[in-house]
């Protein structure tokens, strides 16, 4: 069943449509929220609540538009808000921007995993640590780009900011500090 068919069923009050959407997007949604929050249980709560909001407000949804970005936008925004409330990120004063740029550079330079498992593990650990040291909104940008594969237009819509802002975030990192991330790697 395609998304638009599931949405039509849901609009008609048929929960089978909701089930299709839940089973299709629950993994991406929960993993995204868990990456933002670093809390699996809280991530599931957020995603459950997001599905319920979709169910309650499905009449407001334009069936001609793609469901995935709309739904993930809800999840990401809720996860970022929750993370900000919990003050998850470690305050490094103004170093978060530098870390963010360095993280992007590292991600861009390692699109393919190295053959050595040790190297893979080191890169993974460095990226995980870096992810937790940037702000929730920056984390959301990273996840949208490198985990959800969103384009800049979708990202700007999801984060309620201008496309140029996202582009600046993503491009400026390539020219900025990598040293902080290198320090994390050791």
């Amino acid at each position: 069943m395609e998304d638009h068919e599931a949405i039509q069923q849901l609009k008609a009050g048929n929960l089978a449509g909701l089930r299709t959407l839940v089973e299709r997007y629950q993994v991406q949604a929960v993993q995204t929220a868990a990456l933002v929050l670093q809390d699996r249980a809280a991530a599931e709560d957020i995603v459950q609540n997001a599905f319920l909001r979709c169910y309650e407000r499905i009449d407001q949804f334009d069936a001609d538009r793609p469901f995935r970005p709309w739904f993930l936008r809800i999840v990401i925004n809720d996860a970022v808000k929750a993370s900000v409330r919990r003050k998850d990120q470690i305050s490094l004063d103004h170093q978060e921007d530098d870390l963010f740029q360095a993280l992007i550079e590292r991600l861009e330079s390692s699109t393919l995993p190295p053959e050595e498992a040790v190297q893979q593990s080191e890169i993974r650990a460095a990226i995980r640590d870096a992810l937790m040291k940037i702000s929730p909104k920056q984390r959301a940008v990273i996840l949208q780009k490198y985990f959800l594969g969103m384009n800049e237009k979708e990202m700007s819509a999801a984060l309620n900011c201008a496309p140029g802002t996202v582009k600046w975030h993503l491009n400026a990192g390539r020219r900025k500090l990598q040293s902080l991330l290198q320090k994390l790697i050791g």
Partner: protein, 274 residues
């Protein structure tokens, strides 16, 4: 697929470590909640609302306690309410304070009756009295009452005359009474009657108003808290005739006497200064 190409292997690995795809099964939870089940509210939401709700409850409790038990705060709250033009009555408090004891009924002793001549000596305006009354109204009681004409915004002298003609010696209202009130100005504290039942009449050549009937409570209220719905009863044995003559306002009331407009007009026509 495009999204597979652009996703990063390391982040995919991290995501899978944090929340393995095989362990994510939300449908049952979502279904219960969507179907109106008692699925618990998400932790994030609970965390958000619990402190807000607790703070509101604490503030409400503190304010309520102060308003109830701290006299200055209570007085301040009452003053604020009064400024808004509201007077609140705690009838429940009255009920708690009332101790029901068995006592014999107490009758209010009326002021000593004054003769017409004595009343005329004590008032500053000329008073007429009826020279004819329906049969049976043999028990007279006359009195005067002083009131503050400024406070009542009444331009009269501040003296109101009340003449009662009872059917029974025990002055029982329910057995029938003709009540004549006179005042050199508007009658203070007049009865509240239904405007729709007013009849414009001529009394001794002067314009007057006649009303027949009374308000009746339909019993739908709570005797401790509120009145029931009042409805005008045209069949009630009550009649009112009011007019002004020689600068004096007269109000003639007949209760439980079976009298109507003609009877009251006849009584009014018999009134003289003798």
């Amino acid at each position: 697929m495009k999204e597979q190409i652009e996703t990063h292997w390391a982040i995919r690995d991290i995501a899978e470590q944090q929340a393995p795809a095989k362990t994510i099964h939300l449908w049952e939870r979502v279904e219960r909640a969507a179907a109106g089940g008692k699925e618990k509210q998400p932790v994030i939401l609970r965390r958000r609302w619990i402190p807000i709700t607790a703070l509101c409850l604490i503030l409400l409790t503190v304010f309520s306690s102060m308003a109830c038990f701290v006299p200055p705060v209570r007085a301040f709250a009452a003053e604020v309410i009064q400024r808004l033009g509201i007077a609140l009555v705690d009838t429940g408090q009255f009920n708690q304070d009332v101790e029901v004891v068995g006592v014999e009924a107490i009758r209010v002793t009326p002021p000593p009756s004054l003769s017409i001549a004595e009343i005329r000596r004590q008032i500053s305006f000329s008073l007429m009295q009826p020279s004819w009354l329906p049969a049976g109204l043999d028990h007279y009681h006359g009195s005067i009452a002083k009131y503050d004409p400024i406070e009542n915004q009444n331009p009269g002298s501040g003296t109101s005359v009340s003449l009662y003609y009872y059917r029974s010696a025990d002055h029982d209202f329910l057995k029938g009474v003709l009540y004549l009130r006179a005042n050199d100005g508007p009658i203070p504290a007049p009865p509240l009657l239904a405007q729709t039942r007013e009849q414009e009449v001529t009394v001794n050549g002067q314009p007057g108003i006649y009303v027949h009937g009374a308000w009746q409570d339909d019993g739908s209220g709570d005797p401790n808290l509120k009145m029931g719905t009042l409805q005008w009863d045209d069949q009630a044995d009550d009649a009112y005739l009011s007019w002004e003559q020689d600068g004096v306002t007269y109000l003639l009331e007949a209760h439980n006497l079976g009298l109507g407009l003609d009877d009251l007009l006849k009584i009014a026509a018999s009134m003289t200064y003798e």
